[in-house]
């Protein structure tokens, strides 16, 4: 319960706002509000799409082309 627990009116606020204005928003003061900072959400979204696209961009493996041909042939044989 020292005196620095009590913010001096005006003074602390001014320091924070100067610090925020003068530096990049690299380390915002905790505690963070619930939810996620937009830039982090964007970063996660970009990585998720990268994981996904790495697979999606691959050519379709031969086995699936052959499989569909085979399924069609069986269907044709039946009818």
């Amino acid at each position: 319960m020292g005196e620095h627990d009590i913010p001096k009116p005006g003074h602390t606020d001014k320091m924070i706002s100067e610090a925020t204005a003068n530096s990049q928003p690299i380390r915002p003061a905790p505690p963070r509000p619930p939810g996620m900072r937009p830039e982090i959400q964007a970063q996660i979204g970009q990585q998720l799409r990268a994981v996904y696209q790495a697979i999606v961009n691959e050519p379709v493996p031969e086995r699936f082309l052959r499989l569909i041909e085979e399924l069609e042939r069986k269907k044709a044989d039946r009818s």
Binding site: I26, R27, P30, R32, G35, M36, R37, I40, Q41, Q43, I44, G45, Q46, Q47, L48, R49, A50, V51, Y52, Q53, A54, I55, V56, N57, E58, V60, P61, R63, F64, L65, L67, I68, L71, E72, K75
Partner: protein
């Protein structure tokens, strides 16, 4: 047989997305492709239950997911092992800053619960709506939203993004942001 040709083309066109979804469930390339194969066979035998004009990929995702949870997973016990996931593909990633970053992310993704990973892949990666994803997974839209949110938070925590991290490898990330707070031994890594 133009209708058949269209269906065939649509099935084939959906294969890449099915593989990506299967990978997020199985965690392994070989198993994912087996799962996709079973999905295609199943879909083919139930083509009459597909309503033309609706989203075929969503229909196939549903079948794939049912296959995975009803039988596939039981037969193959080693689930969610990220070894082999995307193995050998790292050189073809144009959007990644570094392989390390990508591997860290992939490892973190596979430390999530299956339902969160699935939600992130369906919505965050493949771009389905919450409504579509909820329908595929048989849950409420609110549940899906919550899985996405919790999954994101967990990923951020595992990767040390925007949090005071306790995880070793991520100390480098912290060091880059705030050299004064991290021992120099970590910075030089």
């Amino acid at each position: 047989m133009t209708e058949g040709a269209t269906l065939r083309a649509e099935l084939l066109a959906a294969v890449p997305r099915l593989r990506a979804f299967a990978m997020s469930l199985c965690g392994r390339v070989d198993q994912a492709d087996d799962l996709v194969q079973e999905t295609l066979v199943k879909a083919w035998s139930h083509l009459d239950s597909f309503q033309p004009g609706t989203n075929m990929a969503a229909w196939l995702y549903t079948i794939l997911r049912n296959e995975f949870y009803s039988s596939f997973r039981r037969r193959r016990r080693e689930v969610a092992d990220s070894d082999g996931f995307l193995a050998g593909r790292l050189a073809t990633l144009p959007t990644q800053d570094s392989h390390v970053e990508f591997q860290d992310f992939r490892a973190a993704l596979f430390r999530l619960g299956a339902d969160q990973r699935e939600a992130l892949m369906l919505i965050g990666a493949s771009g389905l709506s919450y409504e579509e994803a909820a329908k595929i997974c048989g849950c409420a839209v609110g549940t899906m939203k919550s899985r996405v949110n919790r999954g994101r938070m967990k990923l951020a925590e595992l990767l040390g993004l925007g949090t005071e991290t306790r995880f070793g490898p991520d100390a480098r990330w912290q060091a880059a942001l705030d050299p004064g707070r991290v021992p120099s031994a970590v910075e030089t890594r």
